[in-house]
Symmetry: C2
Subunit: 554 residues, 2 copies
Amino acid sequence: MKKKSESKLKIIPIGGLEQIGMNITAFEYEDSIVVVDCGLAFPEDDMLGIDLVIPDITYLKENAEKVKGFVITHGHEDHIGALPYILKELNIPIYATKLTNGLIENKLKEHNLLRTTKRKTIKFGQSINLGAFRIEFIKTNHSIQDAAALAIYSPAGTVIHTGDFKVDYTPVFGDAIDLQRFAEIGKKGVLALMCDSTNAERPGFTMSERTVGKTFDNIFENHKTTRIIIATFASNVDRVQQIINSAYKYGRKVVVEGRSMVNVIGTASELGYLNIPENTLIDIDQMKNYSNEQMVLVTTGSQGESMAALSRMAANIHKKVSIQPGDTIIFSSNPIPGNEKAVSKVINELSSKGADVIFQDVHVSGHACQEEIKLIYSLVHPKYAIPVHGEYRHLKAQANLAEGLGIPKDDIFILRSGDVLEMDEDSAKITGKVHVGAIMVDGLGVGDVGNIVLRDRQHLSEDGIMVVVLTLEKRSNQLLAGPDIVSRGFVYVRESEDLMGAARVVVEDALDECLNRHVSDWGKIKTVIKDSLSDYVWKKTKRRPMILPIIMEA
Amino acid sequence: MKKKSESKLKIIPIGGLEQIGMNITAFEYEDSIVVVDCGLAFPEDDMLGIDLVIPDITYLKENAEKVKGFVITHGHEDHIGALPYILKELNIPIYATKLTNGLIENKLKEHNLLRTTKRKTIKFGQSINLGAFRIEFIKTNHSIQDAAALAIYSPAGTVIHTGDFKVDYTPVFGDAIDLQRFAEIGKKGVLALMCDSTNAERPGFTMSERTVGKTFDNIFENHKTTRIIIATFASNVDRVQQIINSAYKYGRKVVVEGRSMVNVIGTASELGYLNIPENTLIDIDQMKNYSNEQMVLVTTGSQGESMAALSRMAANIHKKVSIQPGDTIIFSSNPIPGNEKAVSKVINELSSKGADVIFQDVHVSGHACQEEIKLIYSLVHPKYAIPVHGEYRHLKAQANLAEGLGIPKDDIFILRSGDVLEMDEDSAKITGKVHVGAIMVDGLGVGDVGNIVLRDRQHLSEDGIMVVVLTLEKRSNQLLAGPDIVSRGFVYVRESEDLMGAARVVVEDALDECLNRHVSDWGKIKTVIKDSLSDYVWKKTKRRPMILPIIMEA
């Protein structure tokens, strides 16, 4: 009989935002912590001016001596993007598969962290020991190569974390997901399964990446006389491989355009994840030597990102490529929720330039649908289910699937950021909450933009600002200069001279009243000015610009 | 033989934005103009703080004596919403079917325009003479009742404008689309067809509204023990009718919640478009007298609009309804492009409160898919095709369909706002361009927010503002007060005292240099301050707040 563990295993998701990327989860057993993934999130709509969001790792820093390392499932931004920021605060080793490690290396280089960071490349099937834990990397399939599921062995039991995955029986590169290993570990007994929920609302099975290659062949066959431009995700190396394959087959040269794509393709190619026939890839400057029907461009911008290569082509501001009537342009992607309008805008622009735009059925997802999720549950047969990776609705959808597979409701846990789930073979329970948070990065500033600043930006964005300035004499409070009113983002001042003139009178009256009543507290004077002006402007315009009174002392 | 017309017919779309609602089209023949629809648009993402957008009708005002009336196809905002604004500038009569007219009446009341506006209710099959034109209203189906297609007869030929439509053989209320009449007019010869393109990318046929009623019945049958809350479009009276039908069948009371829905239901009910069994509709305050399984709530908020009733329930800020675990909540709608994230947010909130959220397959579109579009083309058999209502990609998709039906490419016109298409039986050609534009409405201001103001709002929203104030003596240019720096939306000042202190020094140095060099032009001084501070802040933070120097004179 197995000796029973004394302590429980703790699982703590510490990404500070609910359900929007920023994957980072702590596994804790006694004095050992391992951290799975370290992702960033892109700003929500109300995070005006923010570039990206990273997790607040206070909990890890407070337990720094316990933290043994980062174990990374794959190389997407929402799993590796926060590493350069977090490593500056907590320098611990990183364990990842080869391509993932290559992509991390690029990031560390950019942030000058290469020398100071310990990294190790792990092979599928290989295990590493980190304190009380042993972690095994298991081959999966995903929209980026070298994605791994993790078997996390602890004295309290085994947890399987799928990472982001799909089941692809015929992947473009490398092996299919190692279903046998999932089954083998499952057979030995698995405490908890943490499974990707992204597509848990979708019935059926995600199609093989290879089906997209066939679609490319069809499109190439039917568009032999036009230039072909294909936009896809920069990190989807297999997709690019299939474009190269079709191009080679149909005698076309391939140009890769867009910084992030050039980088990923470079790394993937160096590390042997991409097989490029000689003389197929050419530089963008060589394009002029070839006719349209000899060319394929692979480009970034499939999400309508305004600065990406395809968007610049569509807007006529790309330096080297302009869209021509008759161009065949393929979106080999689906819009990520929130990007629909931006994508549509680019499609409209391209199509109004006479291009033939193809955007339906030239993409497959990288995430498991319902039947694949059920398959993994059936192979692993966990005691507890902990749906991960998705918005609440997706986690809930997986919870429903798990329940349908016979897992009791009480053994299914939808965790919120900061929840501490303690478990062993006898029981599992949320026993506490640790401090978590989202830290906003804006330019060089990490964490110097908070809610007050965001609220101000929101306010400014809606109705602009009116600045009221005046100078008072130090002792007498006598008005020396002003009040002057300057506005930005409020109304065209030239067309609103009357309004601004009247506003000045309102401020003067408010000020007179204060001074006549010998109100000497400048804070009070500011409040009176602000309120009077705000009331007046609201009455006249039904707008509420930010009003900023500044009193100077002379 | 028909006598040949001397003049040509002009068709001029004058909505100022490309492809985003704001439907308004002028038909001009010699000294007669009729205007089809008068819609508003909702602001694009970059129109910060704007409430709505209306067309610039300069062209109509310049030809005011020619304009005979507005002919309205149906009562959706993108077809009637600009009327109250436009009527203030150009008071001409309105012709519409009964429900459409009722909804217009509500708007005119709000704007105190009821007495001064001539309106006439037109029946299907009825024609009106407006100058050189005769206009016939033809019954169609859409997601609002009483939608009409228009046959526009002119001496130069007949144009059929479908309005927004679908083919519903089994509508919930009233008759199916009058396909016979389309055929009859088509048989006599139609110059041009202007057909709804919204769903031109979608193959097949849009399902009957009645299918949703069956889905409701199924859901009611399977959720007999829970409260049911259904969100849908305020103007979809047939949808509400079907909810009422299911509620009555399953012995539930119905509460309607959300201002716009209460209004539309009120009007539709008064005018006889809604059939409510006695004692079925109750007031929200009576809800407490009934148990959960006796209640259905019909509510606004199906698009995740932050101020709508359902969103307020989800966020726990609705005054009278709070979501309870076990509530069955149905989104009887699809997210309109751009609203996906907002809808998802509400679904997450509801679902994390323990509600069972149903959002798939409880909706049908109000617009024709490809097979319906082809049907109309085949019945009408026009010489020219002018796809309308949709983004460019949708117009293009319909153009492709028309070409597939044998209409020569040169006879298909994708018009841009302001294009003047002149046509008769011999030829059709874009011959000119009239002034068009989008006028932004912000609070009470119509047109006082332009591109400069929007750019400023954008700038302010990204990095905030730094205001630099100082007082100089009138003649000597001696510094009397300041420089003081106040920022909003830039950084937490308390955490950035060093930065703000250093910024003040930068400004002081810049100012000293100006004064030492006897630069007396305040414009120049402001520029020097702005540039120095901007450079400094960029170097330190990689941000570009708006910098607003204000010099006061004392």
